[in-house]
């Protein structure tokens, strides 16, 4: 067959072997199916979603970008089980930091959060002014301070450089960072480790995995039964 012996000698084979190895080790090469890079994760609490995410959960030390066209389509319920787990007593120090909300579009309602099992003492919320970089600045400060367990932020605009900085800061501080962005962000490339798009159809929240380090893009549907525990 045509691919049978392109390299005739052992020497050439080994040379190509070294080359591929070198190539694979390069940080510029992204391998779709590698589970190696999954790192630490927070289980999402939704089995279907866990199955499609590398390592089986939210990347615990990276930037997750969630694109929501409209508010109130289940974007918070999606995060609640994992956040509640971070509030359980007896966790190691790295999970005891703030649950930091940066410029949320509405008021996160304390009674509902409390019922979801979120420890209200851990919540820190800032309304950054609408200036372009204020929210991103607040996020970066939070990440650099290494005192947050989760950073949830809402930003209208964020350029490539800013996202890249956030991603690096999230990696360095080992903090679960979630950035909510409007639909217009779909046009933009993103350095985030995980990129999702949420849509809602009646009782189903459709989670579209647009980009995911170490796994394939997929679509997961999460049912929100009124009897189910995903809602309060």
């Amino acid at each position: 067959m045509s691919y049978e012996t392109p390299c005739k000698t052992d020497k050439t084979i080994s040379y190509i072997g070294v080359g591929i190895k070198k190539l694979l080790e390069s940080p510029h090469v992204w391998r779709g199916f590698s589970r190696r890079s999954a790192g630490e994760v927070h289980a999402t609490g939704f089995e279907d979603l866990d199955a499609h995410l590398p390592g089986g959960g939210w990347p615990a030390a990276a930037l997750t970008e969630i694109i929501v066209e409209r508010h109130g389509i289940g974007e918070l319920s999606l995060l609640m089980p994992a956040m509640a787990r971070l509030c359980e007593p007896g966790l190691p120090g790295s999970a005891r930091g703030w649950i930091f909300w940066v410029s949320p579009p509405f008021i996160p309602y304390a009674p509902a959060l409390s019922r979801h099992g979120i420890d209200l003492d851990r919540i820190l919320l800032v309304h950054a002014p609408a200036m372009r970089c204020a929210s991103l600045w607040a996020m970066e400060q939070a990440l650099r301070a290494k005192s947050c367990a989760v950073v949830l932020a809402w930003a209208r605009t964020a350029d490539q450089t800013a996202l890249r900085r956030l991603q690096l800061a999230a990696e360095e501080s080992r903090c679960w960072t979630v950035l909510f962005r409007p639909g217009t962000a779909l046009q933009q490339r993103s350095p985030a480790a995980l990129r999702l798009k949420l849509t809602r159809d009646a009782i189903v929240t459709r989670v579209e995995i647009l980009k995911c380090r170490g796994a394939r893009p997929a679509v997961v549907q999460i049912r929100h039964d009124d009897a189910g525990s995903t809602e309060c």
Partner: protein
């Protein structure tokens, strides 16, 4: 003389005071003394000796201020300092002897402090405060034991006591020249003829109970610096601010206190002051933290006019609490509470106090009042489980204020669509607040919109019977 504005040492300078019906010389500098101008000389007589005499009036308030400033400097040698106006400080060094290793090292360190302040000082250590005072005035040496005290004091002249001239004259007429002579007099006779208070002073100098007013540095800490020229340069302001903070921190360290925040006052030429209040999440005395807070805030400040002076004022202080550091900092991903509070400070400095908060539950039926903003960060609050609305759903997003929804012809609510909302659950009747003016009467429903959002809506029964959106089940 050292408390008054500095003059050149070549000029013939004297300090004068009005006493006994004439302006008299209190103190003369070396140039004046070489011309024969002595203390207690009348000013007119002094002018006869030197025509180019430079006179300064004695200012008691300056002296007091200087003495207090010096007391603040010496407070790190002993926590018990008392002022002996016009010219002496008494330090209780018994408790500091071990730390400094004896009286000599303390005296050396004090001498260095005073030299830096360009103050001529004499020191004397004695078992009692009054004895030390009298001995230093008479030029005596240290007395370190009670047994030697009576002997040393005995040689001191009467002038060292600074008793009134009349009393001293009376004693002199009796042939009494030294304190020793006084002590040898019969006690009751001395008390009757000279005065009981002087007998008491003699007793105090030899160890009877001597109650003194302890010097307490003013609670308000403040540091100030003037600029030579007006400035708008942020770099210069930041630089000066850092130096001021360094001084403030030095002060805090000496007094072992920490502050919950400070006020930064920018002085302008003929304009109102710009005052910026900076508060820390937790009281601190840490220079790095204060500097960072200051520089962060400085970026945000919009100064209306050039600045001529800058001062920092710290209000209430509290005793410093120091905790031991973390040995293996990197083992724990999150640093100690310190990292958490420093984040709060940075955010507050940048966005203002109002925009940063934590949350708390309130036992209240009205949904908008069932939570509250809390600014007591880093404190664990004990809260009992609340039963309000127990069986009913509560949304994760709450609108800051209910939003009026348009209605269809048969009075059904719509949300961003022509189609009416589909009611899923409800009603949950909430009626409350008639006693405090915030009366509500609402029927809450969980409804689904055409776009798939799950909404928390209510029908108002109080005012206009309209439909409102109050939250999203996000």
């Amino acid at each position: 003389m050292e408390s008054l504005p500095a003059t050149s040492s070549d000029e013939v300078t004297v300090i004068t005071e009005f006493r006994d019906g004439a302006t008299r010389i209190v103190s003369a500098n070396e140039a004046a003394a070489s011309l024969g101008i002595r203390p207690n000389l009348k000013l007119s007589a002094a002018f006869a000796l030197s025509e180019s005499l430079n006179t300064l009036t004695r200012r008691a308030e300056f002296e007091q201020a200087k003495l207090e400033a010096l007391a603040r400097l010496t407070i790190r040698f002993s926590s018990v300092v008392s002022l002996e106006p016009p010219d002496a400080l008494l330090l209780e060094i018994g408790g500091s002897l071990k730390l400094f290793g004896g009286t000599e090292p303390i005296k050396e360190a004090l001498a260095a402090v005073f030299q830096q302040q360009q103050i001529t000082a004499h020191f004397c250590a004695a078992p009692t405060a009054l004895a030390a005072l009298w001995l230093v005035r008479s030029g005596g040496g240290d007395v370190l034991s009670h047994e030697k005290l009576a002997g040393s004091l005995g040689c001191a002249p009467l002038e060292a006591t600074r008793w009134p001239d009349k009393t001293r004259a009376l004693l002199k007429n009796m042939g009494i020249r030294t304190l020793g002579d006084c002590m040898r007099l019969p006690r009751d006779g001395f008390a009757r003829r000279v005065g009981r208070q002087y007998l008491n002073e003699l007793d105090k100098s030899r160890g009877s109970h001597d109650l003194r007013h302890e010097f307490e540095p003013a609670l308000e800490l403040s540091v100030h610096c003037e600029f030579i020229h007006e400035t708008t340069s942020m770099t210069l302001l930041a630089d000066q601010g850092k130096q001021l903070i360094a001084r403030l921190v030095e002060d805090l360290r000496k007094r072992q206190i920490q502050i919950p925040g400070f006020e930064c006052v920018f002085h302008h030429l003929d304009r109102a002051l710009t005052i910026e209040r900076m508060s820390l999440a937790q009281p601190a005395s840490d220079q790095e933290r204060l500097v960072r807070l200051f520089t962060d805030r400085l970026e945000q400040i919009d100064l209306s006019a050039p600045v001529v002076a800058l001062s920092l004022k710290a209000g209430s202080a509290e005793p410093a609490v120091t905790s031991s550091g973390v040995l293996f900092e990197d083992l724990d991903g999150v640093g100690p509470e310190f990292a958490k509070s420093s984040l709060i400070e940075r955010l507050q400095a940048r966005f203002g106090m109002e925009s940063l908060y934590s949350m708390d539950l309130v036992d209240e039926h009205r949904p908008e009042a069932a939570w509250s903003k809390s600014r007591q960060f880093l404190q664990r609050k004990r809260r009992p489980p609340l039963a309000v609305g127990g069986a009913f759903q509560r949304p994760l997003w709450l609108l800051p204020a209910p939003q009026r929804l348009p209605c269809t012809a048969d009075n059904l609510p719509c949300y961003e669509s022509r189609k009416p909302l589909r009611i899923k659950h409800g009603p949950e009747r909430i009626e409350s607040g008639w006693w405090d003016g915030g009366e509500i009467s609402r029927d809450y429903y969980v409804a689904c919109s055409a776009h798939g959002e799950k909404l928390w809506v209510f029908k108002d029964h109080c005012s206009n019977r309209g439909w409102y959106l109050h939250g999203f089940f996000a």
